[in-house]
Structures are given as C-alpha cells and as structure tokens.
Symmetry: C2
Subunit: 696 residues, 2 copies
C-alpha cells in the first residue's frame, strides 16, 4: 500500500516543471483515470470499519481524525493514506520541518492575540495539544467587536500623551499604566522573530517538506472533487431558496476612489455638468472658476466625453507599469478632474465624490446580496487629515449598510520627505496614528472623528510593492524619528510600525469598549517574499498574495493559519500576471482561504456589476463549480469586517465554529461535504505537525 502511494505521488511529481518556483505547484489535470484508480485502491465502502479490522495499530494517525462523524454531513468518499508515509522525507527532516512550522504558528498566534486579530481555533487546539496543555475557550482569538456593555463615549479617562508619540514603543509605554493591558501590553520585538521564520523558510528541509505537502493537498482536492462533485452538487440542489445569486458576497478589496466603473464616472461627469455648469467648483491658479470654465481650460466639453477620452481604464499599456496605472486615476489625464470628482478635499468639500460613492452603495443595496469594503486614504502628510476626512464622512453621511470602511495608508514617505512636508518617518506615523489615539482617549473632543472611527474597520497599506522592497527590517534599523533620509523605508518597516501602532491602539480601544481595527495590507502582489513573511506575523488578512506561489513554506503557513486572501485576478491581469496564470484556483484547491475582489472597477471592469463580473470570469476561466463559488463567497464574508450580527445572519449562528458545524448550508449554499473535507484536511496536516514535534 505504501509502495503504491509513493508510486502515485512520484508520478504526480514527475510532470513537475522545475524551471522556477513559480510553476512549481502545478498539478497536471489530465490524468483523471490515475486519480480515480488511486481513490479506488485506497477506498472501498465501509472503509473505516474494514481498515480498523485490518490495520488496528499500523496507522500513525488516529482514524478518528480521518473519518469523524458529524451531524448533517452526508456520506462521502474520503481519501485516506494508510501507512507511515511522512511525505517522502527522512524522519530527521520531517521532525526539523515540523518544529519550524510549529514555532512559526505560535509566533503568529501570539501576535494575533496582541492585536485582537484572528487565529483559527483548530490550529490553536493543535498547538495546545503539542504543548501538552489543553485549549481554553477564552484563548480564542477573534477580531474584536466593541464591547456592547461599554456603550459609546462613556466613562472615558483622559490620558496625557507624552511626546514623541509617533512611535509604537512610546504608545506602548503609556498604556502599561492602565491595568488590563499590563500582561500583554508590550509591543513585540518582531524583527528578531521575523528573522527566525525567514531563515526557516529558506532552509531546504522545510522547503521540501512543505512543497510536498502542498502537492499532496492539490492532488487530494482533485481526487476529492472527482469522487464527490456530484454529491456536493446534490446537497446544493436539495437546498431550497439559496443559490449562488442570493448568497452573500463581499468585495473585500476595493479602493473608494475607483469604486465606480468607467461608464458610471462618465455619466456622473456629464450629469454634473448639466446641473452645475455655472457653479464654482475649483480654484485654478488662485482664481475661483466655474465648472464650465474648468472644462474650457482643459479644452473639453463634457458632452463630447467618451469612455475612451476619459481614459481611466487599464489596458495593455499598464501591464508591469504601476506608474502608468496610477496615472489612469486622472480622468482625461487631468488631475483637476481627479480632484473634483474623486477627492474628499476640494473646493466643493468632496461633494461629488460622496455622491458617486452613495450611488455605488445604492446599486449594492439594490443588488441586496453584495457588499463592499472601500478604502479611503490617510497619507500622514499633515495632522489634520483625519479631521477633514471625518468631517467629509459625517457631513455627506457617506454611510450604507452595504459598505464597511477601511483606511489605506500609501507608502509614499519618500515623496513627502522630498517635498519637505515631513522631517522624518516618525512624523508621518504621528500624523497617521496620533489623531486616532487622541480620539480614542478623549472622544468628546473629537466628535466627528469618533463617529467616523466607529465605521472604520481596519487599515490597509498600499503602493507598488515592486519598488523599495530590498531593505529588510531588522533590530538595527533606525527608529522612525531617526529615519530622516529621503529614501523610502522598506515594506517590512512600514508594516511593522503600522502593526505595532494598531496593536496598541486596539488594546486601548478594547479596554474602553470601542471597536478595534484589523490590519489588512496589500501584500504579495509583487516584490520580495519578505512582504508575505511580515504580513504572516502582523496581518489579520491580506490582499493579493500572488507571491505565495514562490514560497512553499509561507504558502503552507498561510494554509495552516487559514489567513484569508482577497484576490483580484482581473486587476492582476492588467498589472502583474496573466489571468490564466493566476494562482487563485491552485490556492483554492489547496485549501487556502481565498475570496474574490475587484480592486478598482473603474480601471478593470466593463459591466454594471463589477463583483459579479469578477466571479463570472473566474467561474468561466477556472471552471469553478457552484460549490466552489459559494465557498469563495462564504470566505469573503468571513474575511470581511462585517459585524458579528451580520455574519451570523449571512452565514449562520455558528459561523465561528470551524468545520461543518460552523456552516449553515441554508444560508451559505456550501456543501457540508466540502466543509468536512476542508476541516479534515486541515486537521490531518496539523496532526502531522503534532506527530513531527512530539516524536522527538
């Protein structure tokens, strides 16, 4: 049996394209007979019984992990490996790899807990088992909801802030004075642990081991699909009312400034001109001008404008050219129009931008089952940005039940430093975080910001990752106040200081019964692999993640910790990676938690429903089944910052439970067989780690 299994996996590995890591995990899909034969050999009816009789003690992994029984999961065919296979590596390598993985898992668990971000229950349970302890419910790590009991803005104690408060250490030291934070209120020394995981991810043994495990996960899913596809479909067919169209989906990654499609923007511009031609809308060289005069100065008449002349859509010219892509944000290439229509701060107080967003929100409300998490920018260029943004938000009531707001911080210190807007990186951090600390400590003095912060659910870090990614953040890196050179800090440097501030901020806010924030950076769209490592230690979830293709160790860690990844294959297709080469399908098959998002409908999408376009194209190109699509939709809700109430309503009351128990098929339209497969597969991999660490 073991020889057979090895033979099967050897033949699986044979087709492997070893030219580079990128194509390393492709599994040839063209030999269904082999899969079927393998399944046939490894599996017969009432298999569990028979196996128990035949091999009472030979399996190193307890049978109950492989074939648990649940309420309400129909029978399905399982793929089981009998015999001590251990991924075809030597016992020494196996143990070494498992220990490395175990350490990495505990590190993420610790940092997630510090920042009130998510860590999967199942993985925690296995970690406790490895440590010989037992899992306690209060250890469950979940992104924090505000404490309902606390109410809003009551009993806030004023805390004096000592300068310089721009740096996380400084913030941390403040909060150590307050009781509940004492035990966990220290910001972590990430650089050192970071280096440790980094070294591990480049050691040959863990690389081989995780690579083989990922190959296995892919093959296993292919077999599962072949065996159970019809059974999964049967569950969905018997599920009344619910289908892909009316299960909830969240656009987990979208920029507010490009959340409308190009045709929508065009129509809005034309409409605004018909109504407001004589309105003063802009200051041109110090002189107030009407909209008519503004368009005249651009030698344009909106009546003649077309999608082509608007020129905000990404095309072949933008591929691998993030700079050109950024220029596409300017309608007709005119930054004046960007200011007028897509900014919160301008002569008309961001009115048009607010109206466009409200129109997009209204379309989502009409579609009923679609939600979005738009990002608004805070640049850190000056300390009044938060005030202005929240005034805009409150004044225009840019609110919709279908929108959850996030703040994106562009990594453009170098530009501000170059123009002498900030003296050092510490000042930028201060501009970004100090107002939020102040509003948290003394909400009554910052009423609008406090209201706005109730709607903010998290922070994103954005910019072209292919730039500035050389420098690796380490213990010797200068402190933010000392970073006064013109050069931009590295991605990891940004990430660390954002995380540290968010972590401390969350501790403070949780203590006061306020909502906390998740850290959800753009990561792995391009650039160095270290980005993905930094996010592994700090981020609740990420956007893009393409470069996980290049590191089997990190990819396996993202799988074990079930870090959600908001993927945008249409955006990638225009910028970094051809559609057919997108790893979305591969990640999904292996069991990484992927969701679909649009990124920038203005630049990438053609139809009136960009999120549906994204799903439709993925379904067509990757031939996703309904169950796949509904699973991705479910992932998107889980990844999102929807409230506990909303998630309970959309996914079922037990959504926090992992495995089939946490799934309510009547709401999600995800087959219980699929849920059981995912859960058992995760447990099996975690169990291997446990065996590897314990066997020492």
């Amino acid at each position: 049996m073991r020889a057979f299994a090895e033979q099967v996996f050897a033949s699986e590995t044979k087709g492997e394209d070893v030219r580079d890591e990128i194509s390393m995990f492709d599994v040839d899909d063209d030999c269904p007979i082999m899969h079927q034969e393998m399944a046939h050999h490894l599996h017969t009816e009432d298999d569990a019984e028979k196996r128990r009789r035949t091999f009472p003690h030979s399996s190193p992994h307890p049978q109950q992990v492989d074939t648990p029984t649940y309420l309400e999961v129909p029978d399905f065919q399982r793929v089981a490996i009998i015999g001590d296979y251990a991924s075809g590596v030597t016992m020494d390598d196996f143990e070494l790899s498992c220990k490395g993985v175990y350490r990495a898992l505990t590190i993420r668990e610790k940092y997630m807990r510090l920042a009130y971000q998510r860590f999967p229950l199942t993985t925690s349970e296995y970690l406790r088992e490895i440590e010989g302890g037992s899992f306690k419910t209060e250890d469950l790590v979940q992104p924090g909801e505000e404490r309902r009991s606390g109410g809003s803005f009551r009993g806030v104690i004023s805390v004096t802030i000592r300068v310089p408060p721009c740096q996380s250490y400084a913030f941390a030291s403040i909060h150590q004075s307050s009781q509940p934070l004492q035990s966990k209120g220290r910001t972590p020394l990430i650089p050192r642990t970071c280096q440790r995981i980094w070294d591990m991810s480049r050691t040959p043994q863990p690389k081989t081991y995780t690579h083989r495990r990922l190959k296995f996960l892919m093959s296993k899913f292919n077999v599962h699909e072949m065996l159970n596809e019809m059974e999964e479909m049967k569950e969905l067919k018997l599920n009344p009312h619910r289908d892909f169209y009316n299960c909830r989906k969240v656009d987990t990654h979208i920029h507010a400034a490009a959340c409308m499609n190009q045709k929508h923007l065009l129509r809005f511009i034309k409409r605004s001109y018909r109504v407001d031609a004589e309105r003063v809308v802009h200051k041109l060289n110090g002189k107030e001008v009407t909209m008519k005069e503004l368009f005249e100065s651009l030698h344009l008449h909106p009546y003649d404008l077309t999608v082509d002349s608007l020129d905000v859509h990404a095309g072949r010219q933008t591929f691998q050219r993030f700079d050109k892509f950024n220029a596409k944000y300017n309608p007709v290439g005119a930054s004046e129009l960007r200011d007028l229509y897509m900014k919160t701060e301008n002569h008309i107080g961001g009115e048009y931008f607010a109206t466009i967003i409200k129109e997009v929100a209204s379309d989502l409300e009409d579609a009923k089952y679609q939600y979005a998490e738009p990002r608004l920018s805070i640049y850190g260029c000056n300390p009044t940005e938060w005030h202005k943004l929240s005034s805009w938000f409150v004044k225009h009531r840019v609110f919709s039940p279908n929108l959850k707001w996030m703040i994106q911080i562009p990594r453009i210190y170098d530009i501000f430093r170059g123009r002498n807007f900030v003296p050092h990186f510490g000042k930028m951090l201060e501009n970004i975080f100090l107002p939020v600390f102040n509003a948290t400590i003394d909400p009554q003095s910052h009423p609008e910001l406090s209201i706005f912060l109730q709607h903010v659910t998290g922070f994103d870090s954005v910019d072209d990752e292919s730039k500035h990614s050389g420098h690796m953040f380490c213990t010797k890196s200068p402190k933010p106040q000392e970073w006064d050179v013109g050069k931009n800090p590295s991605y990891t440097y940004y990430i660390y200081y954002m995380y540290a501030n968010i972590a401390v901020l969350n501790q403070l806010r949780r203590e006061r019964g306020m909502n906390t924030f998740t850290f959800r950076p753009h990561c792995g769209e391009a650039g160095a692999i270290t980005h993905l490592l930094a996010a592994f230690m700090t981020a609740d979830n990420i956007s893009h993640g393409l470069n996980l293709k290049k590191s089997p160790v990190l990819q396996y860690l993202y799988f074990l910790t079930q870090i959600p990844i908001a993927m945008s294959p249409l955006s990638n297709n225009s910028l970094f990676l051809e559609y057919a080469k997108n790893p979305l399908l591969e990640f999904h098959k292996k069991g990484l938690v992927v969701s679909l998002s649009t990124d920038d409908p203005m630049q990438f999408h053609y139809t009136k429903e960009p999120l549906m376009e994204e799903y439709a194209i993925a379904a067509q190109v990757f031939k996703l089944s309904t169950c796949d699509m509904c699973e991705i939709s479910r992932n998107s809700v889980l990844q999102s910052a929807m409230s506990h109430e909303e998630k309970s309503h959309f996914l079922g009351q037990n959504y926090l439970k992992e495995g089939p128990e946490g799934n309510d098929i009547r709401k999600t339209n995800v087959a219980q067989i699929r849920m059981a497969y995912r859960y058992e597969t995760l447990c099996y991999e975690l169990n291997l780690i446990k065996e590897g660490v314990k066997s020492d």
Copy 2:
C-alpha cells in the same frame, strides 16, 4: 534586404509548435524588440518616396497597393516587404497554390451570387483583374433586400407546384419557366466542385503556402499593433460621443430557447406560479392539469426552486458531452417544464415562451445598443410546423426592433426516421421548404406565414457536429427521396440540400420583390473539416468556425472571402475548447471577420447582460484594445441580417464600401488606421494571388 526578411520570418517560424495543425499558427508574442527592429529596418519616414527612388522596379507588387492615400486616414506606420519574397516557397509551388486559391474563390463567388449572399467587392475586383476583365457594379454580390418597389403581396403569379417538390432540382425546374431566372436559375453541381477544393486543401503546396501566409498575417498584425496602437487609440479618444458602450453590437448567434439567463428563467417560473397556479397549463397522460398539479407531479414547489435545482447551466460535466448539454435544456431535468416554458407549441399556445422572449427583447431595447438574432426551430417532422410557428409569432406579436429572427433546422432526420415520422429524407426537406415556397408563390393563402417570413432573415443548421461527420457528400450520393435508411445523412449532405433550396427560394423571392434568406449554419464547432469546406461554398456566414485552426487552406480562403464567423468562446469553453485556447484572438489578428455571440445565455452566462459578459471576458482574457472590441462589434453588425437602413444608421452610409471609406468612425468607433491596415492587407494578399496566377 531579402535575406533579412527571410531571417526574420525564419525566426518567427522557429518557435512553431509542430505537434499538430491545431497549434500551428501560434506566434510567440514575447519578442517585441524583434518586431520593432524589423519595422525599423523596413520602414522609415517618407518611405514610399525613398523606396520609389531606391528600388524603382525591384518590387513585384506595385507600391500603390502598399501605401494608398485616403481621405481622413491619419498617417500611420506601415509594414512593407521589399523584394520578391513569395512566402519562401518555390515559384512553381507559388503558382500552383495561387491557381488553386483563385479557383476556389471563383467557385464561392458563383455560388454566393446564385443565392443572393455576400461576396466581398475587393475580392471580386481582383478576380476580374486576373481574368483580364473589369469589375462592373452590377456584379456586386450582397444579401438581398426585398425590392422596395415591389411592395408586399402584390402582383403575385400563382405557379403550380409539381410533386415531388422536396428536392432542389425539382424546385429549380419549376422556376426555369419564369423568365428572369432562366439564365442563373440552375442549382449548382456542388459535389464535383466541392471535391476539387477538397483535394486542393490537402495538397502540400497550397498547404505550405497558405500556412506561411497566415503566419505572416499574424506577425504583420503584431507589428502593426506595436507601431500604431497609440495612434489608433488617439483616433478613438478624439472621436466624440462614441465609445465601446454605445457602438452597436449584435448577438449574431443565439438560440431563442436559451436566450434568457438562468436567473431570468428561475424568476419567470416563480412569477408564473404566483399568478397562474390554478391555470390549466399541461396535458399529463391525457388529463388536463393545472400548474400546481404539474409541479406536484414533479414533487417540486417553485418557491423552493433555485438556480442549482433548476440545473440548466452547463458545467464541467458537459465538456465534450453534447448529449449532457442537450439534456440541460430541461429545467429540473423535466421535459414537461421545457414544454411549458420554452416551446412555441404547448397547451397554452407558447404564451410563456413568448413572454420570456419579449422580456429579453425589452432588456435589449433598454440597453439600446444591443441586438440579437435568435433562432427558432423548424424540425421538418411534419408539414404543419411552419403554420403553427407563424401563428404563435403573429398571435403573441413576438416582435422587437432589437431582434432579427432566424430559423434553425436540427440535423435529426435519424430520430424522425427511427420513429417512422418521415419515410425518407426528401419528406423532411419537403416539410421544411415546401410551405415556404407555397407562401412565397401564394402569400394571400398563407397570411400568417407570409408575415412571419418577412421577419425571418435566414436559416441555420444545428446539431452536434462531432456526430455523423464521416460520410462525404458526392455525386453518387442517393437523392433525398432515396435516402430512406435510418442512418443520418452527413453534414455536407444536409448543407447541400439546404443551400440548394434556399438558393432557389431566394431567386423566386427576389423575383417577386420579397426579402431573401441567408444561409448561416453552425460550422466547424467540432467534427470533420469538410464541414467548413461545404460552408465555404454555400454559407453567407457561419457560427463557431473553431476547426479553421486545423486547415490553413480553408482558413486563408475564409480570410480572402471575408466570411463572417460568429464565435462563442464561452460556449466553446463549456463544450469543446478551453477559453484560453480559443482561436478568436488569432483569427481576429489575422484579419478574419469575427464577431462575438452568446449561443445560449441560459447555459453559459452568469450576468444580466450576457453579450456584455461575452465581450468583457474576451477583452480581459485576450487583452483586446478598445479598437479591437469596436471592430468586433462592427463585424457583428455587418454579419447580421439588419436591414440596409439599420446598417447605414449604425455603421454609416457608406458601410457597403470596403476599406476606410466604408467606415464612419463617428458611428463605429473603429480607427481609420485599423480599417486601412485591414484593407491594404487584404489587397496585398489578393495581389499575390493575382501575381501567382498571371505569372504563368
């Protein structure tokens, strides 16, 4: 210079994948520098002048073909080949190939003229030049509009039909009595000429020659694109009002029975139940039942129905399984529901089907710029079908300015013969065509059918091409009345008899001032290459055409005769060919006239606007430029059966002219540079043929 050109083409050919014909025409896109260098070498400013000075007589092809001047075409960079290159084949092979191609072109021209179908002006002009004659405008072959002067139903002379009228020869012999047809009223002896082209398409010399020409066309377009992409875009940006969204596009291939998307059908079923639960809608085992009873007999309640349980969407299970795909036409797997909702003949007189179609039409009218050409079925099973169909059409007023109607004939003689519905194939032809002849000859006796025929624009031939494609139609094939075996006739046999009847019918109808029909079969979706040959000789335009990949000779002939091809990559993706492997992009680049169509939105599409979904996905996956998309839209209008007035309105008054003169950029949003490139490229290839034939 010649050595250089050969070197360039040699390196182009090097990357060629020679495993089979299918991948034979792929050009590696990854060496832009080479293209650019080549263009740089071959082209400089005021090139024509310089070249005229340097090589006054060395070029075998006159300069005026390469660089004509037009009104209103901006300057652009042209790719020119200097020196007598002749595609790298010997002079003998070149001449042999050109003669074969010339013969094939004249054959299509003849048959198109006989049936009042299209043949390109430019190609005709070159054919006349080769023959030493000159082109006369009255020779222009275009699909026939009814003669406006004739009026409707006036002055019709009754003609006695002699039996057996099922066969085209018989029809032809009738019409020889009427004067205007005498000269051209003979149905052609297709089998013999067919064999001649078929032999040619398999001869090595033409295969090599056409293969090389097609490679050249591909490379030439790639270079053109690289040099002029920005210039083309500039034209579009300067074109006021018009962009991709508001240029007209026609869904050139869609089946009426699946013209709604799955969600639309689901909603309609639920709505009909809410209103009509107690209505008698069906006869079950001879007993009349209400809708409620019908659903009860199926153990269903429409309230619980979902897209999943409806199960009309193609999935992975349908790939390469046309049989399973056909079964998807039955909602919930129940043919009773297909009868009730998607048939013109049923207990409620096809009311629901008519309503659904009118809803689809209303969506198209709202979208304003989208049109469709749905197919309704005539089976030829009994002679009353036309009467019933036209009654349905007239009764329910299934009419919309955004719909043009076609009749599809399923190739399922074998099924009817097996059930003894028809005694021989001739009877089936009689059932299909005799009612139309009768209504043409005596419209007043067939008022409803006559009205319906005014709305019918053409005939389609449909079914799984991968079946029954072995037999090659030849002069020894039995006559239709003699075909009384259970076996289905071959594709070519069907095509020939449909063409012959349509040709004679068109002659008769044209003579009486009525609208004529075009023959637009499904062709080359699967099965033998002979299908494409048969269509080359008989069809105005085709649907699918995928198999042109496999025959360079036919592909080149389709290019030279500019036969429009309605492609449906999403349909292919579910049935026969993965999306990324679809030849749409390749055909488009080479200059074949391709349009995009949905085929069956119910089975393949997800969004509310299936045609936009089709365009969006093609644009994303193939990275089409706006100019590409607008060119494809323009092709779709040209291919469609829109009236002369509509085409003039949508494409510009001169749309019948070929080249940039026929394009009105204000209406089509296609760059004049692109039009000039296409026109000059076609002329260049035709000129080569002329040189090859004349040099003898």
